[in-house]
């Protein structure tokens, strides 16, 4: 547990959800989101069950609601787009007196709003209860091709390094009288981005050399996966089963 410097989405804790094996949580997330996406938008009651499941899990993980909601706001830009649909939708219109809205557009907006929010909520929950390195390990245990997990791992590893280089470059520019304001800063910043790309590329080369120096021959060795963990699929899958049962019922009824 690298509690001291966890990433911004992580909420340190020891709840059953924190301790659950990452592969179980990942599989649960995917299955939950699938159930949400496959539910017909008219089955409003089904979505309240999904929301209840999420709220219950946030409670089990003892994540403060404020922490959860601020992270959830990441889906706002996507949801804003949905608000436009009722105004520009085709077909029969619903008259609210002062404005008239497309009923198909309303349904589409609701569909995007509720599914995006539930999906984002489930993802925030995973991120809040799982360290990044554990997510990578979980993906590997779910037999995701090692090339993909390796790319993700490198990206996470070097994001901070590259962001730090970018920050230093900007400070260096400011220190020499460069005044960043929106339009004016584009030119020099683009140059800096180009330089940053070259530096990242060169770093990639050095990392590759460091890998070869330790016997890398193009294939990632099995990672150290022997940490004790209790993989209990069934208790973890209970929320997913409820979600799927809800989705099947909603599909049959509507």
């Amino acid at each position: 547990m690298s509690g001291a410097h966890a990433h911004a989405l992580h909420y340190h804790g020891h709840s059953p959800l924190h301790r659950a094996a990452p592969q179980v949580k990942l599989a649960g997330l995917v299955l939950f989101v699938l159930a949400v996406v496959m539910t017909p938008p008219v089955a409003v009651w089904a979505f309240s069950i999904y929301a209840a499941i999420l709220v219950a899990l946030v409670g089990v993980a003892s994540i403060p609601p404020r922490f959860f909601l601020t992270r959830l706001s990441i889906d706002l830009p996507f949801v804003l787009f949905a608000f436009l649909l009722p105004f520009f939708g085709e077909g029969p219109r619903v008259d609210l007196g002062f404005l008239s809205l497309s009923s198909a557009g309303l349904l589409a907006a609701w569909n995007i709003l509720v599914k995006a929010t539930l999906g984002a909520g489930a993802s925030v929950l995973l991120a809040a209860t799982t360290e990044v390195s554990d997510i990578i390990t979980g993906l590997r245990k779910l037999k995701v091709p090692i090339v993909l997990t390796a790319i993700a791992a490198f990206m996470i590893r070097y994001l901070d390094v590259i962001a730090g280089e970018m920050r230093r470059t900007r400070i260096a520019m400011k220190a020499r009288g460069y005044d960043p304001s929106w339009i004016a800063q584009v030119g020099p910043l683009a140059t800096a981005a180009g330089a940053l790309f070259i530096r990242s590329y060169e770093r990639g080369e050095r990392v590759h050399q460091a890998m070869m120096a330790r016997g890398f021959v193009g294939e990632f060795p099995a990672a150290l996966d022997d940490r004790e963990e209790i993989v209990r699929w069934w208790p973890a899958m209970a929320p997913v089963l409820i979600a799927w049962a809800t989705m099947v019922m909603a599909s049959l009824i509507t």
């Binding site: 690298s2 001291a4 390990t137 590893r157 770093r203 330790r214 150290l224 022997d226």
Partner: protein, 247 residues
Amino acid sequence: MKALAVSGLTFAYPDGTRAVNGVDLDIEIGERVAVLGPNGAGKTSLLLLLIGVLEAQAGSIEIGGLRLGPDNLGEIRRRLGLVFQDPDDQLFMPTVEQDVGFGPANLGLRGPELRARVTEALEAVGEADLAERAPHHLSGGERRRVSIATVLAMNPEILVLDEPTSNLDPAGRRELVGLLGGLDASQVVVTHDLPFALELCPRAVILDGGRVVADGPTAELMADRELMNSHRLELPYGFDPANIRRR
């Protein structure tokens, strides 16, 4: 048998720059040797040649009696552990223990054997507590020691360090002297930090223009002002190697 035997090593980059120009260097088992030289002397190229990342145009490299060739790169890289200058290049896995396990896993170790090797290497550098941390969340000194652990985990016969004191504070630097001084493996330390070289390595070679221009006891080389100055090697202000008592 020598820990390292380099003879007539020559390498030029595609643009024609002769980075290494006929280097001869023998290192005995258990010996610690500093490689000194100005920027552009060919030090880093020499290191990349030693692990077979660059391919020499002429000359030979033997590590523990095994001659480097395309067929035995794996064994060569096990015998010679290279610690890169920037720990951010050296540490690329999501957690410290996975990073330390990377080398031995490439050697085919698995399960409890791999775990034991990782623990042993981290304990050797005094950082067993960091096993599950992410490398980018460590301090400079911790990164340096973990970098050394990643190489120790491969049980190298010879340890090669590129600028090990760069970006370390004086306390971190002193701890590093203690750590490296306590290891049994032969060591080649490439450094601009002359007091560090003097403290750690009884013998030094000066590399300039891709050649070995001097080879001898570190204190004697450093006392030779003319030699040092002619290769842009300058001792820190007020530092006189003659006043240092050998440990």
